[in-house]
Amino acid sequence: MLTYMDVGLSFKENQEIVRLLRRHPNQLELGLFGALWSEHCSYKSSKPLLARLPHEGRFVVQGPGGNAGVVQLSYRWDLAFKIESHNHPSYVEPEQGAATGVGGILRDIVAMGARPIALADILKFGTDDKSQTLRRGIVEGIGDYGNAIGIPTVTGTVGYSEVYDANPLVNVLAVGLRARNVHVGADGARPGSVLILMGQATGRDGIHGASLLASQDFGEQTEEMRPTVQVGDPFMGKLLMEATLAIVGKGLADAVQDLGAAGLTSSTAELAYASQVGLIVDVSQVMCREPEMSAYEIMLSETQERMLVSIPLDKLKETLDLISDYELPYTEIGRVVEGDFLRIVKGDVVLADVPTGVLVGGCPRLPIPSDLSTLLGEELLEEETSIPLNPEWGYQVLGHPDCRERSAIYRRYDSTIGVRTVWGPDHDVAVLRIDDTDGVAIAVCAPARWAAVDSTAGGIGAVVNALSLVATQGAEPLGLTDGINAGNPDKPQAYRRMAGLIEGIAQAARVLEVPVTGGNVSLHNETRGQAIWPTAAIGVVARHPHPLSPVLDQVARPNLRICLLNPPKVSRLGGSVLQEILGITGSYPRLDLAGIKSSLHVLMDMAQKADQAGLAAVRSIGLGGTFVAIARSLMTPSRNVGVQLNLPADSLVFDLFNEMAGQWILYIEPDFLSKWEDACQARGVRLQDIGITTDSPDIVIKGGRTVTWPLQELWHAYRQGGDFIGR
């Protein structure tokens, strides 16, 4: 006999199930509840917190709740996009875990009827030996899937800290394109329709916590009967993607739902719940890869590359012909009826029958502690007030694992397939051409160190950082997606940090008026009591006004003015790479969102018509601060232009290495300086003229004494790490 504990439910939750059902669930039903009331499927800890995120906006077509958010790009196109995590599977089996993460988010996009056009990967690795192996496998896996299915990986971010040793993070963003007149999701299934399950035959893959049941069903436990690793098959994924998009394109399906976590259980239950219909699913009709799979295994299997479509009877033949044409395996596994239940049968025998309102909607949510707002108060750690500059820090910061050049990773991803990539992973922001006039800017970030002490400050910083990146292109942000990664929410500290992170994201998104249209929460990233830093992966999609000519991020000419747009009134080093190098732990500053909002307006206006604003190049300031932003803007192939900066000696270290997001380095044609001054003044935004580009290949600072960093040395640090220089 299975008990509620075997499927991961608490005593209280079990009581609630009995109360709502007005009976005890049978074994299979208990399994269904175990899956759908898990943290992963029900968001029981985070949903009340996520409610704080703004969802509304002018361009929102579909907010949270579907397989992915959808925003309007143009009068012809919508964009579907979302971040998904695959952290734990990637730790267990890096290659397949990461590969199936990519496959999973792509199916979410496809299930919205959108054709994926871009991927971005957000990775956090530990620093021990095992982490090196994990990194190799994870990068390999992401490439294996994305390259083979033929979706370009156009941007991403990588960070390192020992807090990720046993919990690496693998979050993947996918973006898809959908014609404006297409509308499909999980919520349109109508009584009378037939449920088709297509794609891979179902095996015993990734049946979480199901080993007990499996062994019960089989009497004896053998190696083969234990849950097995999910293997990604991008080839089947490609066929499935094309078939699904063809079905949607021809208007054959009334509902589409991919199979992800908890497999058929969550896809059928969620489809029924969203469409407000009943479903009868016959497990004997599900194609199985192995003999004698139990109903429980069939319902809980996480075999990849499967899709559920609901097809009205009069469209059935055309649909089946189409699926066959792709040589995709499929079966009819059930039908849609009036009602509000999920009924699982095997031929004539009813195995489970539960109201979807209870199964999907009934999971008790963890209430937000009433004193949460006081708990989220600013956690300030003391900072040094004056530090003399050590020039070595320039190399160390630029060569820090979080700032270093990434081509060894992104070279392994196809970034040019699809012929949309105007700017790929060698830039901070990806620029994609949609057609001759429409374009998209995509940026991701996950500045984890910023949230290490004060997670609210980190959440704010992450959103500001993402929006600052697309603002360099004068691109109008359409929506945000967030991946929340945190520790065990049952522990007060981990919960508070997660809550703070979400609160920070919510605050920034509200003030800056960009909606969050979807995302993901991954909790329990904790091993032996060591939790990761609460880590927000933020993705933004923005409408690019002139995708064929991005605003440059590198300078190749001397005699340009260099200005800081919106430098902070008081620079603080909290949470910076430099602090880590110096062995200091500080809290990231809470940013002035109102000031940032005005600056974003100024930059957006000017960058939309960069020629008329004399804007030769621009970079958003983030990890590594102004120093890294400037150094990277000089890393042209010829590296023959340098800069000379005049900065006050007493605040030099703060000015160069603070990482306060929402400031930019601008390279302006001298004649246009006054135009910028006027634009900034009109909005009360600070513009600080700090120097000029030169034809000498180095960074020179005149502030008190003169400090010089030759570009060639900086390049080595950037390529090979900060400890390389002179050693």
């Binding site: 891979q200 095996g203 083969e224 009967m225 097995t228 293997v231 089947m236 890869r289 075999t303």
Partner: protein
């Protein structure tokens, strides 16, 4: 004194784990009208190694198989030894 042995590893996916390459190859063989029911694909690795004797070589083989040559999460392996 040591001598050279040849270890042959057969590494394959554990049963129950999806083998997409085998599946695709099976489909093509069927299209070519071979009466094929099932195809599984794995790799062999042949290692020439110095060891004291055959047992010693085999013990090293077991160790290498676990530590490097197979992925214990998904694969199993067999190793055989032959004197060269």
């Amino acid at each position: 004194m040591t001598r050279t042995y040849q270890l042959t590893f057969l590494v394959g996916l554990k049963s129950g784990i999806l083998d997409p390459a085998g599946q695709a190859t099976r489909n093509v063989l069927q299209h070519m009208e071979y009466a094929v029911q099932d195809v599984r694909i794995g790799k062999w690795i042949r290692v020439a190694i110095q060891a004291d004797n055959a047992e010693h070589a085999l013990a090293l083989g077991q160790e290498m198989g676990q530590r490097l040559l197979s992925n214990p999460v998904m694969e199993s392996f067999e190793v055989t030894v032959k004197a060269l």
